[in-house]
Structures are given as structure tokens and as C-alpha cells.
Symmetry: C2
Subunit: 444 residues, 2 copies
């Protein structure tokens, strides 16, 4: 094997690929090849690293049918791949039509179709990873765009070196370095003239905002790279924290304890819960949350029908759901009352049970409910039942008398009843509060 000398840029990419573990030996890489200077350079660099990593390098080109030059680009890419003996997957999609039909902006629609196409091409050519030619300037443009539109630190983590099956070997390399490389290597490529259309926000940032910022700091790219790297660290830290967090999920609820959390962790945990309900945590909700995080009991509507509630030390994110108001129990069997699972039987089957005579009525509390001269509400607070559970809790009545409110109240008369006196047994099996008690115990 002849030991070849790598170009400085190729060596820089090699080192980056190694430290970031972007490639493994023997992998197949699909290069997203537009024909522009970045992707053509990336293809060449990866071909240089082919031997070192024993790579199979393929390419994929999407003809967006948007510009008059689109066919020229496709022809250029086909010739290039033929010359370099690189397998190529090409497709033509009428992006404009798709965007119109789906009511999407051109930039957004094109991105969506492009990623779909790349996924398909990857499958077709049986590749392991997709290599994207984004460079540090692209990253900086995206970060500035997000800063200006409004985002938190994690939203600033755009264009990671590796995300799932996408790798970006050029992401920490400046555009000018790529241009010099293409010149040194005498590479030919096509121009994307839409790059100069400042109507697109991206181009406005590139051609107006960044030159203005460069007057303050000529190394603006390095400055934002610093922020990017720090925010990636925070993101990984948060992912790790979320993985370790104990959440209680049942029905349309997610419950967690806030006791050991910093406000930062609380917000991130909440953000991730809200995402699981298919919604996004808005900044105004973060502000509301921070204002009252340490107050005991409140609720905020996060999105239509999605609520954040706090009760004692517990937070609950819940979708509005129907509540069963009452349930008559007239024969043995299993009953679900708002997630409280009862079994009526002739045997004790749980550590929580009472002896009853039929018929039994299970219902939710009513305003003014009192037991042994105390308000039921006060008893519930004493028992540290979080507010978000109180309106769904079972109140068990026999003959119009409240006999039992699990975890809250047991009628004294029950002490005198004996199993052999021909009573049935009402067992409480699974229930939300049992899970909450476990959660609280873990926190202590």
C-alpha cells in the first residue's frame, strides 16, 4: 500500500472524524451531493479517507426542479460521479408543487423533501451514514437565526457533528478553508445562485448580518463555535439527567417530584414531559412556572387542554380527560374508577380493603362533604393528596354513609365488622396514590 500524503484540510477532517467518532472502519457513507463547492469538496475528502477507514463512498442528488439550472446541476453531478466511479442515486421532485400542496415555505418544504429523499437513498444504496456538507459558516448562520427568533440554550445546539445517522465532517470548518481546498485541488463545482437572494432569511443573515458582526469581531465563527460546544455539553448533561429521572406515568398524566431539582432541571424535565404530550413548552410558561415554582398548589394551561399542576411537592402534566362521577357496585368483580382499581370479592386480596354490604356507591367528592365533623377537603390535605387527584378520588358509600376514602378516611364502624359476619371484601388494588407514595419514599 502506498502511503499517500493528505492535504491539510483532509488531515483536519480525519482528526475531527476520529475525535468525534463520526465513522467506523468498513462503513458505507452516502454523501448528500448538491454539486456545490461544499458537497463536492466533502466527496473528495471522503474519497481520500476511503483507504484509511476502508469506506464505501456513495452519493445522492435531489433535483429540486426549482431553478432553470437544476438540470445542469444534475448533469454535472452525474458526470462527476461517473468520473470518480462513485455510485449515485438521483431523483427529481417538483418541490414548488409539493410546497404549494402542503402549504409549506420553499425553504422548509425543500428541507423536508431532501431529508426524506436522503433516507430513501440511504436504504436503496445500503449505506450506514449520511454525510452532510454543512460547514461552520452554515452553523453560525443557523445559530444566529435561532438567537434572533428566540430560543433557549438547548435550541442553540444546531447542526451537531453527529445526529442519529447523519454526520457533518465539515461542521467546524470555515467556508473559506473549503474554498481554498477546492482551489488547491482544482475541483469544479456548480454555483447555487439562490445563495445570493436576500429575500431568504438565511441569505439575509449571510450577506447582511454576519458582515456587520464581523466588523466587531473578525473571528465571529470561532466565537459562535464556542457557544455551540458549550451548549452541546449542556444538552448532553440534560439528556443524562432526564434519563435518570423518575417519572410516574398513568392514563393522561405524568407526575414527578420537584424536591431535589434545581429550577434549571425542573424546566428541562417539564419541557421533555410536555414534548411527550406532543406540545412545546413556551417561554411565557417557563416564566409563570419560575414565579410560582415554590408555592404549594396552582395550575397553568400549557396548551389547549394540557395542564401543568402542582400539588405539594409534586408536579403533574395532564391532558384533560373525562372523570367518572359515580359507579354503583352490585356484584363481585373488578372495577376501575378513574384509575383506582377495586375488586369486590369474598376474600382479602390487598393490604387496603374494607368489609361491605351491597349495594355500594363509589363517587367523587361533593362540595361540603364531611366525615366525623371534619371537611373531607381538609382530610385530603392532611393526607397530602395532591390537588390534581382530589376531584377523582373514590368516596365509598354504603347506604348513603361514607365508609371509606382510601388513604384519607376509614369509618370507625368498620373496626367492628368481622370477616365471618357475611360481609364482602372491597379490595383496593392499583391506584395513582400508591405510585405517588412510592415516588415520595424514593425522594426521601
Amino acid at each position: 500500500m502506498v502511503r499517500r500524503i493528505l492535504d491539510p484540510l483532509e488531515f483536519k477532517v480525519l482528526k475531527f472524524v476520529q475525535t468525534q467518532k463520526l465513522l467506523s472502519k468498513g462503513e458505507s457513507v452516502l454523501v448528500a451531493l448538491s454539486g456545490g463547492i461544499d458537497s463536492v469538496s466533502l466527496l473528495h475528502v471522503l474519497l481520500q479517507l476511503r483507504e484509511i477507514y476502508r469506506l464505501r463512498v456513495c452519493a445522492a442528488h435531489l433535483n429540486h426542479m426549482l431553478r432553470a439550472t437544476a438540470d445542469r446541476d444534475e448533469a454535472f453531478v452525474s458526470d462527476l460521479c461517473a468520473k470518480l466511479k462513485v455510485e449515485l442515486c438521483v431523483e427529481r421532485i417538483d418541490v414548488a408543487k409539493f410546497c404549494e400542496e402542503n402549504k409549506l415555505g420553499i425553504e422548509e418544504g425543500a428541507r423536508k423533501l431532501r431529508y426524506q429523499f436522503l433516507d430513501n437513498a440511504k436504504r436503496k444504496l445500503q449505506c450506514d451514514v449520511i454525510a452532510l456538507a454543512h460547514n461552520l459558516n452554515d452553523l453560525v448562520e443557523t445559530m444566529l437565526h435561532r438567537i434572533v427568533r428566540g430560543t433557549g440554550p438547548l435550541g442553540l445546539v444546531a447542526m451537531k457533528p453527529r445526529f442519529q445517522d447523519k454526520i457533518r465532517p465539515f461542521i467546524y470548518i470555515e467556508r473559506s478553508e473549503i474554498e481554498e481546498y477546492a482551489k488547491r485541488k482544482n475541483l469544479s463545482f456548480v454555483e447555487d445562485e439562490t445563495n445570493y437572494d436576500v429575500r431568504y432569511t438565511r441569505n439575509y443573515i449571510r450577506h447582511v448580518v454576519i458582515p456587520a458582526l464581523r466588523r466587531i469581531n473578525p473571528s465571529i465563527e470561532k466565537a459562535l463555535l464556542q457557544l455551540h460546544v458549550s451548549n452541546m455539553l449542556i444538552e448532553r448533561h440534560v439528556e443524562e439527567f432526564l434519563r435518570k429521572q423518575r417519572l410516574v406515568r398513568f392514563r393522561d398524566r405524568t407526575i414527578f417530584s420537584s424536591r431535589k431539582l434545581s429550577d434549571f432541571e425542573l424546566v428541562e424535565l417539564l419541557r421533555s414531559c410536555v414534548k411527550e404530550f406532543g406540545e412545546q413548552l413556551e417561554f411565557e410558561h417557563v416564566q409563570q412556572l419560575l414565579e410560582r415554582a415554590h408555592s404549594p398548589s396552582w395550575k397553568i394551561e400549557l396548551a389547549k387542554g394540557l395542564w401543568l399542576e402542582k400539588g405539594f411537592d409534586l408536579f403533574c402534566v395532564e391532558r384533560e380527560h373525562d372523570v367518572l362521577e359515580s359507579l354503583k357496585i352490585e356484584e363481585c368483580g373488578l372495577y376501575d374508577f378513574n384509575g383506582w382499581c377495586f375488586k369486590l370479592n369474598d376474600r382479602i386480596e390487598s393490604d387496603q380493603y374494607i368489609f361491605v354490604k351491597l349495594p355500594i356507591l363509589v363517587r367523587v367528592r361533593k362540595p361540603g362533604d364531611r366525615v366525623s365533623s371534619k371537611k373531607l377537603k381538609d382530610l385530603m390535605i392532611e393526607a397530602r393528596i395532591p390537588s390534581f387527584l382530589r376531584d377523582e378520588m373514590p368516596v365509598v358509600e354504603e347506604n348513603g354513609i361514607i365508609l371509606w376514602v382510601p388513604y384519607v378516611y376509614v369509618d370507625k364502624r368498620l373496626n367492628e365488622r368481622l370477616k365471618n359476619d357475611d360481609f364482602l371484601v372491597l379490595n383496593l388494588l392499583e391506584n395513582p396514590f400508591r405510585v405517588i407514595l412510592e415516588l415520595r419514599k424514593e425522594e426521601e
Copy 2:
């Protein structure tokens, strides 16, 4: 008491002061009063809140002697305070001269002098807090400045609502809201014409950069506020984490264990250690650290003579310091050998001791040192002595024979020696490795 109706802005500030706990009842507030629209408005708002908080409101004005209009401003402020019956502290300082003498830029020098002056005025007027009139636009300008110059997320936490004895009641209020307030209240104020000089970076950001960004998002202030609030949460989270962290400090070293730390925590902990040595952690060091964080043994020079070293699971930040190469022990007493404290005595005073006959030589290891056919270096590695301690560890010789390397090696002949055979006792008292063992034990 007559209940007055607050202006909407006054009410907004009141709510902010309450949620952020900026003021306590009965406090004395010193307003930094330039005479410009922001500080004049702040003075008025605080006078409105005076009754609610039973405040004493004072003001302080520094005449920078920089502009022809400086004396006009001073006169304006004096009149205003006389009219409002507000105690005022005024001073004149030749800022230009100070900056020249101290080789400082005008902006930097003026800021320094201003804060010194405010601290003095606060003491003189016996106030509790200093109220600064920075608004959301100022905050956004500062954040953008830092983003462009290069910073991490914590560096983005500029102009907090409260920092030590400084409060910023206007910090989340837009300049335009203040302008409308001044108009509603018919306030008079002076103009600072240097605000329009784009040679100052701050003004360039205000008059060129922000208008450009506003074309992308008209609510750019709200967008950056979001980032500010999130980064404040991260900052508080990190402060909390640092407080809980166990550091071992001795001589010119700080040692900590990396075992349970995320990369984010590792970087922040290191940043704080480096700061204690009077230096700053540079971004290039962060990158180097991240590349090798999980490799076992390496060192990086962080600043002239300040090193970061890793040995096994331990990190060490250390200033270069002299190392004692050898030490003769010829009589009873206390000896310090590179932080290893020995006591020669006729009694056992430590759980680590040997019996010796004088004279004893304590020295650092030499290349090629071997004991019982093994390399001393290998024994040190087996004993998990971190690399940064190995060159300073005591090797105890009697008659040219290595008898003892604490925690690493004890000569077999020592087993046969008995106390009553007229030996002396060499006790090992405090030593760096004992502390490290404790640290390791805590981590397990």
C-alpha cells in the same frame, strides 16, 4: 393614607420588584442618576413605590467631565433632585485623564470609575442598594456584544435583575416603554449625544446590528430575554453544583474526582478552580480537555506555570512549585517533605510507621528505581498514585536501601524489627495521598 393609582409601567416594575425580591420594606435606595431618560424615569418610578415599600430614595450623579454638556447635566440633576426633595451625592472626575494614566479605554475606564463612585456614594448616604436604570435594550446589546466576541452560556448572563447590592428594576422593560412613560408623565431629561457615536461598539450594535436583526424578528428583545432567563437558570444550577462539590486543596494544588461528573460539570468545575488561581479557562483548553477527558493520564498548560493534570480518576490544577529532592533525617522531630509530614520519635503516633535506625534519607524517586525486582514506577501505578504526585513522593532509605515508599512499598525486613530492639519510629502524619484516598472513598 390615600391610595394612589399606579401608572401601568410603575405597576409592572412593582410586580418585578416583588417576584425578583429586589427590595425589602424600609430600605434606602440609591439611584444612579445620569439625567438621561432611563435614570430619570427610574427615579420617578421608585418615588411612586416609596410608600408601598417605605423606601428612602437617594440619588448619585458622576460628572465624567468628558463632554461639553457634562456641567449642564450636573446642573439638571441637581435641580431635579432639589425639586423632588431627593438627597443627592455629586462628584466630578476627569475620566479622560484617569483612562490615559491607567491605559484604559474610555468606556472601560468610565465604567470602573462610575462603579467606584456609586459604592462610595452608597456608603456616604448610608443606602442599602444601588438601583441601576439598565433596560432590556441595554441587556440585549450586551448579550449580542458577548455572543459576537465569544462566550459560553454563563458569560451570556449579563445584567442580572440583582447582583450583590445592585438592582436593576428596569432590566426586563423595553426602552420604548420607558419613553412612553416619560411622555405620559411629562418628565424632562437630558440627551446623551455620545449615544449616537457608532465608533463605540455599543452604539454600533444599537444603531446598526439591532435594526438589521429586527428585520428578521421585530421582537428581538423578547427573543434574547428568553436566552437570558434560561442562562440565568443554568448559572444558578452551576453555582449550586459547585457549592456541593468536594475539592481537595493543599499547597499549590486543587484536586477533584471526575467520576460522577458530566462533561458539562467537569468544565464548569475546572473553570471555577482555574479562576481561584487567578486565571481564566480558555476555549482551546476546554476543547483539549474534552478530547482527552476520558483518557487516563495527561497534562495541559492552562496558563504560564499553571497546569491541568489527570491521573486515574483525579483531576489536578496546580501551580508549578519547587520540589524538595532529598532530606536527611538525623534526629527526632517533625519533617515536611513536599507536603508529606513525618515525625521521627520513640513512639508510634500514626497508623503508618516503620522502625528505623538513623541516619535516614528521604528522597524523590530516581529513574530506574527498583524494589524487590519491580520497577518503582509500576508499583506506584498499581497503588493508583496519580501521576501528579509521583515525582514528589517520599522514598525512605536506610543505609542506601529503600525501606519504605508510603502506600506503595514496605521492605520485608521491617517485619522482623520490634519496638523494643532500640529502633526509632518514623511516623507518617498528614499527606496528600491520605486526602486523596478519602476523596476516592466518598466517590464510591
